[in-house]
Assembly symmetry: C2
Homo-oligomer: 186 residues x 2
DNA sequence: CTCGTAGTGAGACTATTTGTCTCACATTGA
DNA sequence: TCAATGTGAGACAAATAGTCTCACTACGAG
């Protein structure tokens, strides 16, 4: 098995270029654009991915897998909910462009990688927080999870924030809300 | 000006079908699909919209305009921030599929209809709340606005909630956050 | 009621993009 | 140095975008 280092690099270059290109130009970017961005011939893209849809799916699948691993490594279920949410948001934001493509495309994927790899752990985290009485029970956990994912995708796509600022803002907005805590009430 | 009632109907049918088709099938749905869904010939679509991109833009532009008018009619700037946010969320949710297309496509539009018609009023609302000391000042208003839009788009796309439930959940999550209010603290 | 016209449906046609295939060339490893 | 593996380039077929023409339908004026 000789040339596998090259194939590794090429595959990586294509997937990275695809994530960037689809994030910047939108869903209708051409595979010629992706190939050019990756610095390879268009035919080479088809040597690695049988068609456009599968390339998109692979970008999304890898992003989902990568985020999942970050979540596991971050041990989100072994810390407080607040800290767990912070680390989850950090995992999403660190994934960057791949996460944006994932959030945008996940409804059109073959198998629902997103739900198993990200949705489920996120719901588990929120659920345990709910059991501990720290996460409010009047909103369904899956709605909270969707809200968080939507917030991250929206801010990543349309706000020019640095990673640390993005994480801090999203964490605070999601956990504590936009209102100033009403300290004097009740 | 004789047949304009017909053209009105046809235009409406195409735009509605386009919003639904692009929301359900994603960005790469075919114009033949849209035409079939609208019950017109494919050529007729091109009689009303010069190309695919402009059709998408028109769906988004109309959604933006419609939401803007809902915001104005709702007088979001004449009530409390909490009520204003509630009405804004209701405006987004009521727009439905058009809003989903708008949120997804707005980065790739010619002119930024979204920011002027929706982003600006939303930021004004949050800003006035901030001046009144009710909206937290440690998160930039445009980040809060993006968060809210992302939340709505995410929940509308991936949660099977009824309109009233969706509005209530999003309102509560955005304003008060996911945490149980720490009533006993401090 | 009939006719002229505005507007649609259907389909042929071109351009662009997707996807397939072949062949010459470069690079790696023995 | 040489053989094998993998890429670049470009020709090709299939699908979709976009253009155009023509026959037909239905509305509205008389």
């Amino acid at each position: 098995m000789p040339r596998q280092a090259l194939q590794q690099r090429v595959s990586e270059a294509i997937l990275t270029a695809a994530a960037r290109t689809f994030t910047v130009q939108g869903e209708r970017a051409t595979l010629a654009d992706v190939a050019a961005a990756a610095g390879v011939a268009r035919a080479t893209v088809y040597r690695y991915f049988p068609n456009r849809r599968r390339l998109l799916e692979e970008v999304a699948r890898r992003a989902a897998q990568s985020v999942h691993e970050r979540l596991v490594r971050a041990r989100v279920d072994e810390v407080s909910v607040e800290e767990g949410v912070t680390r989850a948001v950090r995992a999403f934001v660190d994934e960057g462009e791949g996460f944006v493509v994932l959030a945008r495309e996940r409804g059109h994927l073959e198998s629902d990688e997103f739900d198993g790899l990200i949705g489920a752990p996120l719901r588990r985290l929120l659920d345990s927080g709910r059991s501990a009485g720290r996460i409010r029970a009047d909103i369904a956990p899956d709605v909270l999870a969707e809200s968080l994912v939507g917030m991250v995708a929206g801010v990543l796509t349309h706000s020019p924030l640095g990673r640390d600022d993005a994480v801090a803002s999203i964490r605070a907005a999601f956990l504590e809300g936009a209102l100033v805590p009403a300290r004097t009430e009740r």
